[in-house]
Amino acid sequence: MRDYLLDLVEHSYDLGCIDLIKITGTDTATSVDGLAEDKSVVLQAKFATPVADYIGTFGMPNLAKLKILLNIGEYKENADISVKRQDRNGEQAPVGLHFKNAAGDFKNDYRFMVSEIVNEKLKGVKMKDVPWDIEFEPTTASIMRLKMQAQANAEETTFQTKTEDGHLKFLFGDHSTHAGDFVFQHDVGGKLTKSWSWPVQQFIAIMNLTGDKTVRISDSGATKITVDSGIAVYNYILPAQSK
């Protein structure tokens, strides 16, 4: 249980822009939805195998608190972390997590958000079909180069993408500012005709996550980054930044 929760918190809260996620669990699938308050990131994830404890629909609010609980020393070894369920409208619904250390003398309760409220706060969104013009798996070296440029251009909150000679370039700043650019991925095959902007902080935060990553960019103004942690497959959709 703790590993699942740690994976979930890392791949949502640790981005720095998501503090509430919605879990929708059935016998056959467990999915996760999240949305940054500024709509810069849409999270849509699915666990590799259904999680029996998560059957139902509920929200996990205040993920900062959940992260603290998961990292308390008392709960790192042989702790009992279980989903509490209660009868709601004739059904057993998940209502929270109960934390108990190995000795049983240190406890915490983390409450879930009920389905009616989380459904209101995180209304289901369905992405329109867009063609993904570029698809690649970023290298560790590219991610390092991105971080260097971001550091050198710390005043820039966004970067732009364009394809040039078959390579994908990231550009920071413009003619009126300090500027920098570099090839993020060689030989991407596809072509981008529009110079969309993307949020630096969120993009790097996703690149920092544990798991295998695939980046897809659409000329329609969307980037989808898939991160497979082994426990779940997380899809992050970044709408392009525009006026």
Binding site: A36, D38, K39, S40, V42, V125, K126, M127, K128, V130, T157, T158, D174, H175, S176, T177, S197, P199, S220, G221, A222, I237, L238, P239, A240, Q241, S242, K243
Partner: protein, 515 residues
């Protein structure tokens, strides 16, 4: 002999600030004109340094201490029934012909759910009644009215959305279209109407403009007479300039036809300057009649919050130009004081500096701090100090729910309602003065940091604006705007809309990508 500070004469060719008249303030001016019909609400409260109530009415060229001929009045605050004589409306209704009044339509009231009705339903009687009232009222009291626009963000507030029946962006557009068609037919022959543009981002603003621009075109025998800039159009300089270039190239900013553009609700001094730049450049390169106005209610709202304007802050390359507002003297010990108000507030350290207006110059400290300890207000409640037992108008102790006497935590206020009116008048002068003085300083080359970038070379907003309007070629203007977009985005707008770095955000694409 009355010494006037004639702010009309000092206006030069600056973009025009319109004080958004508070009905509270207007009541004092209007009602005192009819002593035979209305019981005086000021009694003997007029300070000795102020000859009469008309001295506080800037729209009265002959009698005002600071004549200023422009103002805005909102349907949301007015008594719109012109069939009835309402003395307290007389500051606006009874103004002289040499003044200019812009009337706001009350779209904001719809958006806030204050004017309930099914506004998306063209047959709804409540909405139609209000529609008719607004256009009749505007035709009766104003030189320029505004379309009854419904801001695109209306549907995002569930309570307001329910009250006004606007459930989507398209509802707001459709209802505004209907309102516009109605206004086109129903307006008085002398009323000029500003076509209000809305939109929460560039995409929405473009769409709104494309939908509504026909009302300023020759599709109509008597098209609307100018533009009102709301939503993102009033706080995003890049969008404003892009819109203006488009309007000009589409023939919708023509001399004698579309001469006026009003920016709704902006109090930032930097904007007073760049709007002057826009006015001058458009006059120079396209329409010599073009006039820009902007309004805000800050002088009145500040007073309601106990704040008074003390002075202008406008340092060369200063990060923020503003009128300083501070909490001012309100103390029972000052009652009946005969020293000049401005002397006392500086002498007693309430303000480091206080620049007099023609109104504050005529006030003693006792004129503002009317009540002393033991005095009773108009309903008879005694004025007491912190630590005293709170008493009702009969002198009996006020008890809490447990029957215990209530001990007052702070001194009673020494102000009466006329104190607020006096300070409002002072604030209005200060605001107009600040706008004009800032423009004078700007013309001397003293400028706020926001309007110049000297990181690498010197690029000023003034020069960019003029270069954009100097182009005859639409694409060249647009390329210039793109080239300077970072500078333009760095000009921070008011509290509404998105401004600064937040102008570039995910919301437009999110809406485009997700159902």
């Amino acid at each position: 002999m009355l010494v006037q500070d004639n702010l009309t004469d000092k206006q030069s060719d600056y973009a025009i600030f319109l004080p958004a008249i508070s009905s509270f303030y207007a009541t004092y001016i209007g009602a005192e004109r009819y002593p035979d019909k209305v019981k005086s609400i000021i009694g003997d409260r007029l300070p000795k340094g102020i000859p009469n109530m008309e001295a506080m009415n800037w729209l009265n060229k002959q009698e005002a201490l600071f004549p200023y001929k422009w103002s805005l009045y909102s349907a949301g605050h007015a008594n719109m029934d012109l069939t009835v004589h309402v003395p307290k409306e007389d500051m606006v209704r009874g103004r002289s012909a040499d003044t200019l009044m812009v009337a706001d339509s009350g779209g904001f009231q719809i958006a806030k759910g204050v004017w309930p009705g099914a506004w998306a339903d063209t047959k709804d009687k409540a909405a139609q009644k209000k529609r008719e009232a607004v256009i009749k009222w505007q035709s009766g009291i104003a030189n320029y009215g505004m379309t009854l626009d419904i801001p695109t963000w209306t549907y995002l507030d569930p309570k307001a959305s329910e009250a006004c029946g606007i459930k989507s962006y398209q509802d707001a557009v459709d209802a505004t279209l209907f309102n516009n068609e109605f206004f086109m037919e129903a307006r008085g022959k002398d009323l000029k109407i500003l076509n209000v543009l809305q939109g929460s981002n560039h995409t929405e603003a473009d769409s709104w403009y494309d939908t509504m621009k026909k009302f300023c075109s020759d599709k109509y025998d008597k098209p609307f007479d100018g533009w009102g800039m709301g939503g993102q159009n009033m706080c995003d300089l890049h969008l404003i300039l892009r819109r203006l270039v488009t309007i000009i190239h589409e023939g919708l900013l023509e001399k004698g036809q579309h001469d006026w553009m009003h920016f709704l609700g902006t109090s930032k001094l930097e904007w007073a300057l760049l709007l002057t730049d826009i006015q001058r450049s458009v006059r120079r390169h396209h329409n010599s009649n073009f006039t820009v106005s902007f309004d805000c209610a800050s002088p009145f709202l500040a007073t309601a919050n106990g704040q008074v304007y003390t002075r202008l802050r406008a340092d060369d390359r200063g990060k923020k130009w503003s009128y300083l507002m501070e909490a001012t003297a309100d103390n029972l010990k000052y009652a009946y004081g005969t020293d000049k108000f401005s002397d006392v507030v500086v002498r007693d350290g309430i303000h480091e500096r206080f620049d007099d207006s023609p109104i504050s110059a005529g006030c003693t400290i006792g004129d503002i701090c009317k009540y002393g300890v033991g005095d009773k207000n108009k309903i008879g409640t005694p004025k007491i100090l912190a630590g005293d037992i709170d008493r009702d108008k009969n002198g009996n102790p006020i008890l809490d729910s447990n029957g215990n006497q209530i001990v007052r935590g702070r001194d009673s206020t020494s102000w009466d309602s006329f104190s607020y009116a006096l300070l409002m008048g002072h604030n209005v002068w200060q605001h107009i003065y600040a706008v004009q003085e800032s423009n004078r300083l700007y013309d001397q080359g003293i400028m706020p940091a926001m309007l110049v970038n000297e990181t690498f070379t010197k690029v000023t907003v003034r020069d960019v604006i003029d270069e954009v309007f100097a182009q005859k070629d639409f694409d060249k203007s647009m390329r210039l705007l793109e080239k300077h977009s970072k500078l333009l985005d760095s000009v921070i707008g008011g509290s509404r809309g998105t401004t600064g770095k937040k102008i570039v955000n995910s919301k437009t694409q999110f809406n485009a990508l997700f159902d």
